[in-house]
């Protein structure tokens, strides 16, 4: 059963189309990953789904409610964790949670119990009375997630939940996401971290330049990627014409990456190493290492989006700063 259904959703800012007629659905109880480079339209899509932006065209249905006309009903059953922690600096962690709970009409005794429960669950019980501004980045992130789930939402929107925080906090947040999902919360997650999506998500949607170009189960994507055979040769410095010669001698392969001292080849058919070793010997190029690479979700991402992982890593670094 689909809990989110998006049809031909479009958002324009003047002449610029940020989201261009996208359609996808999210099943109840799944973790849906929304992947794409910076500026692809991920946050604009989340903003339209949560009521912070009005669609220029298209339809949104969330848990049966019309996302445009019944947004206040939608907001009652969703939780939102934005890409930046946006709680109140002057208020303590506990007071922030109590305040957020009251916005959803939770009674005093219920919200107090729930806030304390969450502080425990997120390992923040000892710092609950400290002002939010005194929290570390990881603690702020955890409290922001706690605030997003204080009212037991059926759907949780998580925008880049682990960007810019320490490894331990990120690991803890991933574990919490899994626990939440196991308890039945549907999770809509955007992330820059492909490995995070691989670990957490059941299905992925890829968005590039405002268009959803693929929606698929993670398992299916992995199987699709692994149909390809990849081998990397580490060599002594080689010339650019080596690539041309390789393709001429082995017409069934493609050159995936070449750095001058390593070359990565790919083929739909199994790759035998010996003919290549002979080729390199004939060319007088010494090979120090030859390894079979198991394609990962990163490779799938590159293949689908046409965006290099290097670019994505630079974006990650930028976000972290």
């Amino acid at each position: 059963m689909n809990i989110i259904e998006v049809k031909k959703l479009t958002k324009k800012f003047g002449d610029f189309t940020a989201v261009n007629g996208i359609s996808f659905s999210v099943k109840k109880g799944e973790v849906f990953g929304f992947l794409g480079p910076n500026g692809a339209g991920k946050t604009t899509t989340i903003n339209m789904l949560t009521g912070l932006a009005k669609p220029s065209a298209g339809e949104i249905r969330i848990a049966g409610y019309d996302g445009s006309k019944e947004i206040k009903k939608v907001q009652q059953i969703i939780g939102i964790v934005p890409d930046e922690s946006n709680l109140y600096d002057e208020m303590s962690g506990l007071d922030n949670l109590l305040f957020c709970a009251s916005l959803y009409g939770m009674k005093k005794e219920v919200r107090e119990k729930r806030a304390k429960e969450l502080l425990e669950q997120f390992s923040l019980a000892d710092t609950g009375k400290r002002p939010f501004k005194a929290y570390s980045k990881g603690m702020k992130r955890k409290l922001t997630i706690a605030a997003g789930i204080i009212h037991h939402p059926a759907i949780l929107f998580l925008d880049e939940p682990t960007t810019g925080i320490d490894v331990e906090s990120a690991r803890q947040i991933r574990r919490l996401i899994k626990e939440l999902n196991a308890q039945g919360t549907t999770i809509f997650l955007t992330t820059h971290y492909i490995e995070e999506a691989e670990r957490l998500c059941h299905r992925l949607g890829f968005i590039v330049a405002g268009k959803v170009i693929k929606v698929s189960e993670v398992q299916a994507l992995m199987e699709e990627a692994q149909q390809e055979n990849v081998v990397e040769f580490r060599t002594e410095p080689n010339g650019l014409d080596l690539e041309k010669k390789l393709v001429r001698v082995f017409p069934k392969i493609r050159i995936k990456a070449s750095t001058g001292h390593s070359i990565r080849i790919t083929s739909q058919e199994p790759i035998e190493l010996m003919p290549f070793m002979k080729f390199f010997a004939q060319e007088g190029i010494k090979v120090s290492e030859a390894k079979i690479i198991r394609p990962s979700l990163e490779d799938v991402f590159v293949k689908i989006t046409g965006i290099g992982i290097d670019k994505l890593k630079k974006e990650k670094e930028g976000k972290r700063r």
């Binding site: 907001q75 709680l87 109140y88």
Partner: protein
């Protein structure tokens, strides 16, 4: 009930986080004292405290509410905590009423501080307290909604301050507090009658010194009208600019 709880939480959060902070409490005390002293200096210590009371009260409200609301909302917008409120399951009108009620209370308290000081020094008998309170509330409401309009029009805290002054200073000199309306240059007089503070100040003059020049019901209606128009324009602009 749920909506009322959200309203109350936003109001108490704002009072605690912004309006009841020591610097703002001291502002509420120092500001009216400064205005009173200014009038004393200006008039060679022969000033009639009761005559200047409506002006000091009106200006205390105007400066207190417009600054505070414009700054707090702009600040929350910058830190993105305002988004949290926009994403809560409460209507925009209720949210903005909750956000502005704190500033309205702050303005009302600011108005009664000079009154309290004056009561220690002069005889305040003969004041129409009901009209005074009504005048104070209406000035507080219109000034707060003016602050809201300013907050919606700017994106930086310093812009909020600058833009507030753009409205406040002309209003201060044209509302009849320093110079009686009939003594203003003829070409400026119509402008005075466009300003909400003119009606608020006249209401207080009438209530405190029985000296107003505009009919009471006209002032009341104009102030209520201003409050409604400013609130509607502000919420319309929020829908257009912040829920983009």
């Amino acid at each position: 009930m749920n909506k009322l709880m959200a309203f109350w939480s936003i109001l108490t959060k704002d009072m605690k986080n912004y309006y009841l902070k020591p610097p703002n409490i001291s502002w509420g005390i120092i500001f009216p004292i400064s205005w009173t002293l200014m009038f004393f200096i200006k008039s060679d210590s022969t000033v009639d405290l009761r005559q200047i009371l409506p002006g000091v009260m009106a200006l205390s409200i105007l400066f207190g509410t417009t600054s505070m609301l414009a700054v707090t909302i702009t600040f929350e917008r910058k830190s993105r905590s305002f988004e949290r409120l926009l994403l809560a399951p409460i209507s925009l009108n209720l949210l903005m009423l909750a956000k502005t009620t704190g500033a309205i209370f702050f303005g009302i308290i600011n108005a009664f501080i000079p009154l309290l000081f004056a009561s220690l020094m002069i005889d305040l008998s003969g004041i129409n307290w009901l009209t005074t309170f009504l005048g104070v509330v209406l000035i507080a409401v219109t000034s707060t909604f003016l602050g809201l309009l300013i907050a919606v029009s700017v994106s930086e805290v310093f812009e909020a301050q600058t833009f507030s002054n753009f409205f406040r200073f002309p209003m201060m000199f044209l509302c009849g507090l320093f110079i009686p309306l009939e003594k203003l240059p003829v070409f400026l007089q119509p402008l005075s009658y466009v300003l909400p503070l003119t009606y608020g100040a006249d209401l207080l003059k009438f209530a405190i010194n029985s000296a107003g020049s505009i009919r009471l019901w006209v002032s009341l209606l104009v102030l209520i009208g201003y409050a409604l128009v400013l609130f509607l324009i502000s919420t319309h602009n929020i829908k257009r600019k912040w829920i983009y």
